[in-house]
């Protein structure tokens, strides 16, 4: 038996198929992964993401610490509740993890990192923090629930208290409101609108039941993956890891180069990579023949070379197979995929297939 989140009994009550996910007992689906996917595109679904790690960074030097720790610049965060997506890099410019950092005040930032990278992230952050006057502490008081879909905001609001409804009234995308112990962020990993909500652990189970009563359907990790892939969002460990730089993972936009005086871990390596020229790129693939793209398939680009898929699935929205692949920089708009010994043509597209319920390819 693995670790259980505060929603574990809710999962069982909802008929979840529980699987081991990096040491956690998590719901893969509650009957049909496909139906759960469509619910998030068309209505409102919720995902237990309590296995993700919340790290609170506090202290007078919190800002300068995070400016050094992260490739994106927390100096962009001026308003309490504002969030920023960033890579946390090693000295070689490889991605230790991708994360979201929330600005609470000048001496308090909240960082949410992946579940699978928890130990190494905490170790790395603590190690880097020694030369700053900051505390880096995991916050285990919360359960975390993502409520996503075109009706997610409305349905989630219906179970909030009056004060919470008021607190979230004007929050824009990538913004969070902290109210009555709930930390409600307008973020997500599905390409739909919605919230990711930190709930006091002891209230988690009740909160879940209220959302069920409000018509929000439980969705498992399976649908979470097909939704993020349709949205073209990177998955740590698939699209990037410690051997891949943000420049090779469609994350160039998360690197803040100015002001030049700001040094951050991995910066000199990234500068060198830029000067030498980045040799690969991450692209979206739309399969034109029959079959299903999976990760680690060979991509053949006539006259140019080879690449490899990092993720792939049958898109429930498009009813076509889609994938993400790392290919040579000069790859054009069509490639061949090697699927079970056969070569199948695929179109190269921007890795963003479905957003806000709409097909983009």
């Amino acid at each position: 038996m693995g670790q259980q989140t505060p929603f574990y009994n809710n999962h069982l009550e909802s008929g979840a198929k529980i699987v081991d996910f990096g040491g956690w007992d998590m719901p893969l689906h509650y009957g049909s992964q496909m139906e759960e996917h469509h619910i998030v595109r068309q209505d409102a679904g919720m995902f237990d993401v309590s296995h993700m790690t919340v790290v609170d960074v506090k202290g007078e030097k919190a800002k300068s610490f995070l400016q050094y720790l992260l490739a994106n610049d927390v100096d962009k965060l001026k308003q309490s509740g504002k969030a920023l997506y960033s890579g946390m890099l090693n000295e070689e410019g490889g991605v230790i993890d991708d994360l979201i950092v929330y600005f609470i005040d000048s001496s308090f930032y909240r960082v949410v990192v992946n579940a699978s990278t928890r130990e190494k992230d905490l170790a790395w952050m603590s190690k880097q923090a020694t030369s700053f006057e900051v505390s880096v502490e995991e916050n285990t008081e919360y359960a975390m629930l993502a409520v996503q879909g075109p009706n997610a905001i409305e349905k989630a609001k219906s179970v909030f208290s009056a004060a919470q409804q008021k607190a979230v009234e004007d929050i824009g995308i990538f913004f969070a409101a902290d109210c009555e112990g709930y930390f409600i962020a307008r973020t997500g990993y599905t390409g739909e609108d919605g919230y990711e909500i930190l709930v006091p652990a002891e209230q988690a189970s009740d909160f879940w039941n209220k959302l069920v009563a409000a018509g929000v359907k439980p969705c498992g990790l399976g649908a979470r993956d097909t939704l993020r892939l349709e949205a073209g969002m990177n998955l740590y460990g698939n699209e990037m890891d410690e051997s891949v730089s943000p420049l090779e993972a469609n994350m160039a936009w998360t690197i803040t180069w100015v002001p030049e005086e700001r040094d951050f871990i991995g910066k000199s390596a990234l500068v060198a990579q830029k000067e030498a020229g980045v040799k690969t790129k991450l692209v979206g693939l739309l399969l034109e023949g029959k079959g299903v793209i999976r990760s680690h398939m060979k991509v053949i680009i006539d006259g140019i070379g080879e690449g490899e898929t990092t993720s792939g699935t049958m898109s429930p929205t498009l009813k076509k197979s889609i994938g993400i692949a790392r290919v040579p920089k000069s790859t054009g708009d069509s490639v061949m995929l090697e699927i079970r010994g056969k070569q199948i043509p695929a179109k190269v597209v921007k890795p963003s297939f479905v957003r806000m319920g709409k097909a983009l390819v």
């Binding site: 992964q33 496909m34 399976g222 097909t226 299903v292 999976r294 049958m314 079970r340």
Partner: protein
Amino acid sequence: MSNVPSDLKYISSHEWVRLEDDGTVTIGITDHAQELLGDVVYVELPDVDSEVALEDEIAVVESVKAASDIFAPLSGTVIAVNEDLEDAPETVNSSPYDDGWMFKMQPSELSELDGLIDAESYQNEIED
């Protein structure tokens, strides 16, 4: 609890075989198999008229999770495939023993029929 019809024969890799009155066989995957796979999103069927040998990888079922090979439970010739699965692969989930059948064969080695297991034995295998 998976449905295991008593009038069918099975092989351990979760294919079912129905012996038809005209000496042909119809083949699909079991209810237990479709449960394990999750939502089926694509089925690659063999070519009609192809000759297959016992235990050949003859078809592929792809679910939201992964691709799984379907093995030939008998040697023989493929005489028909269920083309409806091309547009509606989810039929394998909703009706694994009827509308979700995959292909029909004319067996060439009747002795191989003895290698198939009955419903009770298959039920025991999946309960272990």
